[in-house]
Amino acid sequence: MRVIINTSTCVGSGECASNAETVFTQDDRGLVVLLKADVQGEEAEAARMAAFLCPSRSITVED
């Protein structure tokens, strides 16, 4: 599964970094940083959850 982020709309809720910490982190302003664009298995599930929870819809996942 492929993960795509849009940093221009990120509002720094931290939902991604707290739910999929091996896939996402935050920069020194608290905005989303993608650690891994291609994820499988448990990481894919966590990234899917992060995309669902992201309040600004800044995360997209593609199978």
Binding site: V11, S13, S18, Q26, G30, L31, P55, S56
Partner: protein, 411 residues
């Protein structure tokens, strides 16, 4: 109320049911929400000022509307549903959004980002040990009482988040306590608008002083940074900085106070859930999510105004009409949470919208979650005999942000 009633276009808002609605049980949203979710999931109501607004009650619709670019959070928009007179007086007095929460993108994004670094997952994690010591200290102080009795709100629920937010912003604890006392006169459904406005002015003056002190003695704290990086270069003006700091200081402790008090009360009232949590503390994180879902304390704060016509739930919300996205209803939607009225710390509750949704979702949620996890863990472990020392029916609750005013306990 009659949910099947369809107002004709000429019908005045006077024919509609009044909102906010009274709760039958202080821990659950009004039963009418359930009926609305089933029968008319987007339903019109009448506000205190006679304006009409639309309630959105289903989980999917609440998320949809709060993430929709066709809604505005500008509280000074004439159609914005402000839920009581004193709130309108305070929040609309400048003729423009008082701080980022009531702005729309791109202005909102720019202003919110002045603070995102202070609440990031990494930054909050760095506070873990300090929060643990604050929690331990506060519990020690309560346990020192010779009579083994206390007002739990005053002794535990309020001081924990207050000390934490004072630490986050680098201001003396005594100053936040002072602000708390002063802010009691700024809100509430029955508060006189003029009294609210003058109280708010005093609060602003007080925060203005705090900023001036930081300017005179800059340090590495958040307010000093905001002065250097935002105020001096003109990204935010002084009244704007005062208002946003006041907002963050207030929401930074009021909500967490409510959650600690009501969360503890829920565990006392559900002894089987409490036992389960005591025997397996690894459930704490999930228990926090479930308590957030179940209680949904900021049940009236997610208001918006449509800036274009929006079709949702079989209705058309016209541009200029107010919307209340009921997160407390969304969090009790059986389509998302089976047996939604049952408190179950084992359930998958993480998708709740207790912190709102969309770009205005709570900035301090990571901090709130950590405080709640540490606090509940420590309370259960260190005060195993904690119990309510007054009949539950005698407790007095707060209306706008759900909470308990005081709560006598013993141990």
């Amino acid at each position: 109320m009659t949910l099947t009633h369809e107002p004709s276009p000429s019908a005045s808002a006077g024919d509609l049911p009044a909102f906010p609605m009274a709760r039958e049980c202080p821990f659950s949203p009004p039963l009418a929400y359930k009926q609305m979710r089933e029968e008319r999931p987007v339903a019109p109501v009448r506000l205190w000022n006679g304006n009409k607004a639309w309630l959105v009650t289903r989980f999917d619709d609440v998320r949809k509307i709060l993430a929709d670019k066709r809604v505005s959070n500008n509280i000074t928009h004439p159609g914005f549903p402000v839920l009581y007179a004193a709130r309108a007086a305070v929040m609309q007095q400048h003729g423009k959004p008082p701080y980022f929460h009531f702005m729309d993108p791109p202005e909102h994004t720019e202003h919110r980002r002045m603070f995102t670094q202070d609440f990031s997952v990494i930054r909050v994690k760095e506070l873990e040990e300090e929060i643990q010591s604050i929690v331990d200290e506060v519990i020690d102080e309560m346990l020192a009482d010779a009579d083994r009795s206390a007002d739990y709100v005053k002794a535990i629920a309020l001081p924990i988040p207050t000390r934490v937010i004072a630490r986050v912003f680098g201001i003396p604890y005594a100053d936040v306590v002072k602000l708390q006392t002063m802010m009691n006169a700024t809100s509430g459904f029955n508060q006189d608008p003029e009294v609210a406005k003058s109280s708010y002015k005093r609060l602003e003056a007080y925060v203005g002083e705090l900023i001036a002190q930081k300017e005179a003695n800059p340090s590495t704290d958040t307010i000093s940074r905001l002065v250097t990086e935002q105020l001096r270069p003109g990204h935010i003006d002084r009244p704007g900085l005062i208002r946003v700091l006041l907002f963050l200081l207030i929401v930074g402790h009021e909500t967490t106070t409510s959650m600690i008090a009501l969360g503890t009360l829920m565990l006392l009232e559900h002894p089987e859930q409490r036992e389960k949590l005591i025997s397996d503390p690894s459930l704490t994180q999930n228990a926090v999510e479930e308590l957030l879902r179940y209680l949904s304390i900021v049940h009236l704060t997610t208001c918006r105004v449509a800036i274009e016509d929006i079709e949702i739930g079989g209705e058309t919300i016209k541009a200029g009409e107010g919307i209340v996205a009921l997160i407390s209803s969304a969090n009790r939607d059986a389509a998302q949470f089976p047996n939604p009225d049952v408190l179950d710390i084992d359930r998958e509750a993480r998708t709740h919208v207790a912190f709102g949704f969309g770009v205005h979702q709570c900035l301090g949620q990571t901090l709130a979650r950590l405080e709640l996890r540490i606090a509940l863990n420590a309370i259960l472990k260190r005060i195993p005999t904690l119990k309510l020392a007054q009949p539950i029916d005698d407790l007095k609750f707060k209306a706008y942000i759900n909470g308990v005013q005081s709560m006598n306990v013993t141990w």
